[in-house]
């Protein structure tokens, strides 16, 4: 290689290095990581980004942050941990984001938080539920959604109180899916409910062998937990219904992943979706807050559909980061982390968000402890989640107990 070509390569390289620096002065960049292609939960990722975009628009309309415009840097992680690491690295080193928010897969989050920890960049998790994420105790990591232990210990109690006797859990072998299996096992077996569990590769498409096995189990399975995300979650519901296993008169079905909340759910599972249970971390307008009403209206105007839990989380994520920037008057990591940990108390779409400093149990650290969680049940074909029956918690319940399918 001659001197000339070497100089040219160096020149081009310098161009790339210098350019973003010059640009970074007049905008505040916030990174959003989300699964936007398979094998990730694509509809979840899209909802998250949609919610985040509304927040950015709102911020810019009211003058931005610290007198600068807000720019979202959106990164597709495909639900693959290695991609999450790469996207985070690029956001921090090349795009120079001040904070990152988002993500809907625990395994990917576990990879991303290592990068956040290394560069000391605040990471606000929107929709990843594994306990380990906050239990690791990284000061940079905050979570404004539930964790497995927080929701499924309560859901397990509800299952036991509703009189179910034999619970089967089929979970994906990811940090989240394995966590679902563990929490159900720990809580239900202690209460004397029989639990059968299977784990499977996330790309599994045919659950028929296991479902057939469950169909002839004794005592009969009366509650099936579908611990998958993406295509797997939908296929399990479809196959369980086709085989006459669940949801039926004899067996309930809980779709634990968020793919039960999107229009695609009805297009893919069809009538199998009626009577399916779901557990969203938030429902539009419950509880009714000023922010939730404003957000619901903006979301409907822009996307022509009802917002869902994940869209609300996406909005809250960007707004919480913005609030921390306003509170500290700075974009320095240290100040932002301090603001979120000690000063933040912001009325979001699902209630007032504060982050706990409690380290016992470990997963409580930097978690929003009062995050609302619901168990809902679809009662009609093509029903919107916001119109479904609410079974739990009691204060918001619209029906007295689980609705048994007629057949």
């Amino acid at each position: 290689m001659g001197f000339k070509s070497l100089a040219m390569i160096l020149g081009v390289f310098m161009l790339f290095v210098v350019m973003p620096g010059a640009h970074a002065e007049d905008v505040v960049k916030i990174g959003i990581v989300a699964p936007l292609s398979a094998p990730g939960g694509v509809e979840t990722g899209q909802a998250l980004v949609d919610g985040a975009k509304i927040a950015a628009e709102e911020l810019n309309q009211s003058g931005g942050l610290l007198g600068k415009k807000v720019e979202l840097v959106i990164g597709d992680t495909s639900g693959v941990p290695e991609k999450g690491t790469a996207v985070m690295e690029r956001m921090v080193t090349h795009d120079k984001v001040v904070a990152v928010g988002g993500e809907a897969h625990s395994s990917v989050t576990m990879a991303e938080m290592e990068v956040a920890h290394r560069y000391n960049i605040p990471l606000v998790i929107s929709e990843a539920w594994a306990d380990e994420i906050t239990a690791k105790g990284y000061p940079e990591v905050f979570r404004l959604t539930v964790c497995n232990s927080l929701i499924y210990s309560k859901a397990a109690k509800w299952i036991k109180d509703s009189g179910f006797k034999h619970v089967a859990v089929i979970g994906e072998n990811s940090d989240w899916g394995m966590g679902v299996i563990k929490v159900f096992k720990d809580n239900l077996m202690a209460a004397g409910v029989k639990v059968t569990s299977f784990s499977a590769e996330r790309t599994t498409t045919d659950f028929t062998p296991q479902l057939l096995q469950l169909k002839s189990a004794s005592p009969p399975v009366d509650f099936l937990v579908d611990g998958f995300t993406g295509a797997g979650e939908l296929l399990m519901i479809k196959q369980a219904y086709e085989l006459g296993l669940a949801p039926t008169k004899n067996c309930a079905l809980l779709g634990a992943g968020m793919d039960t909340l999107y229009p695609g759910f009805w297009d893919t599972v069809g009538e199998a979706g009626v009577y399916v249970l779901s557990n969203p971390a938030g429902l539009p307008g419950i509880p009714k807050t000023e922010t939730s009403e404003k957000f619901t209206q903006l979301f409907k105007d822009k996307f022509q559909r009802e917002p869902d839990a994940v869209a609300m989380e996406g909005y809250d994520t960007v707004m919480v980061i913005a609030e921390a920037i306003k509170l500290s008057g700075s974009t320095a990591s240290k100040e932002l982390i301090d603001a979120m940990e000690n000063k933040l108390s912001w009325l979001g779409t699902r209630g007032t968000i504060t982050f706990s400093k409690e380290k016992n149990p470990p997963w409580a650290y930097h978690l929003w402890m009062d995050v609302p969680v619901f168990i809902i049940q679809y009662t009609e074909f093509k029903q919107d989640p916001s119109k479904a029956a609410i079974l739990w918690p009691e204060e918001y319940a619209t029906v007295e107990s689980y609705i048994q399918p007629p057949k």
Partner: protein, 302 residues
């Protein structure tokens, strides 16, 4: 009864596996290349069927779904002919040095291109294609999903037609002749170049129709072909590269091993997690003890 239900499921899946792997086997036999874009051809077929079916349904054509199936298969066949003409024929006719490496790169690139083209074009969402027959079939305690049984029956018919074509028609014999010995076939007046195009078209269209049949059962998305392509590779190696009989038997063996492996393993909580591992274990064992596959020919070295 449980075992019977499992057996029926394994047979259904096996028939679909056989259909998609036969294309790969045929292409390997005649063109001597491994089609790394096989999974993506399956995906193209899945989407074509999805769109054609909804178009025909909304325009109330006579038998909309079978028509959509045949049209998508034919379209993928033409697509295969064009691809062969554009990317593979020149390499063969000009006797490109390193033909093997060239075709691997071409089909590999094609696969990545198609998948990344589908992503922005159709969106990453899971789509449900309409099944020719829905509902359930009940025989005593045995329940079979309608979409599966109809897909398996159609796949069986297509395989039967393919076998008739390969063994009983002039064109089919020509294809097999080129697979056995292209030089001898050429001396006897068979156009090797034409047969190669034909084999690629038919091979891809088999993947396409398999995608059209799998779409209603396992949902359509841009990455849908990837897991099936891996299974097709296992099947073709297991049965013997290029052997039609071996491919069909290999497909059923893999379906049985996957199905029964995931219920008979002593630790039931992990049995399903290893589902894909059973197939790969089978592949490793084949490569170790019978590298030419069950019905493959040993390479003759002069």
């Amino acid at each position: 009864m449980l075992m019977l239900a499992q057996l029926v499921n394994a047979l259904v899946i096996g028939t679909l596996y056989a259909l998609m792997s036969l294309g790969l086997s045929l292409i390997f036999g005649v063109l001597k290349l491994v089609n790394f874009a096989h999974g993506e051809s399956l995906m193209v077929g899945g989407y074509l069927y999805l769109f054609l079916a909804s178009f025909f349904l909304s325009h109330s054509c006579g038998l909309p779904l079978p028509l959509a199936l045949i049209t998508s298969m034919a379209a993928v066949f033409v697509f295969g002919l064009i691809l062969e003409r554009l990317f593979l024929r020149s390499a063969y006719e000009r006797k490109t040095a390193r033909y093997d490496e060239y075709v691997i790169l071409v089909t590999f690139t094609l696969g990545i291109f198609l998948q990344n083209l589908a992503l922005p074009l159709f969106g990453p969402y899971n789509r449900q294609a309409p099944a020719i027959f829905t509902g359930r079939i009940k025989i005593g305690d045995l329940v079979i999903a309608g979409d599966r049984i109809s897909a398996a029956v159609i796949a069986f018919l297509i395989i039967a037609l393919l076998l008739f074509f390969l063994y009983r028609t002039y064109l089919g014999k020509g294809l097999r002749a080129v697979a056995q010995n292209p030089d001898a076939a050429s001396i006897l007046g068979i156009s090797v170049a034409r047969m190669r195009g034909m084999a690629f078209g038919i091979g891809i269209s088999l993947a396409g129709v398999a995608g059209a049949l799998l779409g209603p059962i396992f949902l359509v998305n841009p990455g849908m072909g990837v897991p099936f392509a891996i299974k097709a590779f296992v099947i073709v190696v297991l049965g013997g590269m290029g052997s039609i009989k071996g491919t069909i038997i290999g497909a059923f063996i893999l379906a049985m091993v996957e199905n029964f492996g995931s219920i008979l393993l002593p630790d039931p909580t992990r049995a399903l997690a290893y589902k894909d591992a059973y197939g790969l274990l089978l592949l490793i064992l084949t490569l170790l003890f019978r590298p030419q596959g069950l019905f493959g020919e040993k390479e003759r070295r002069a």
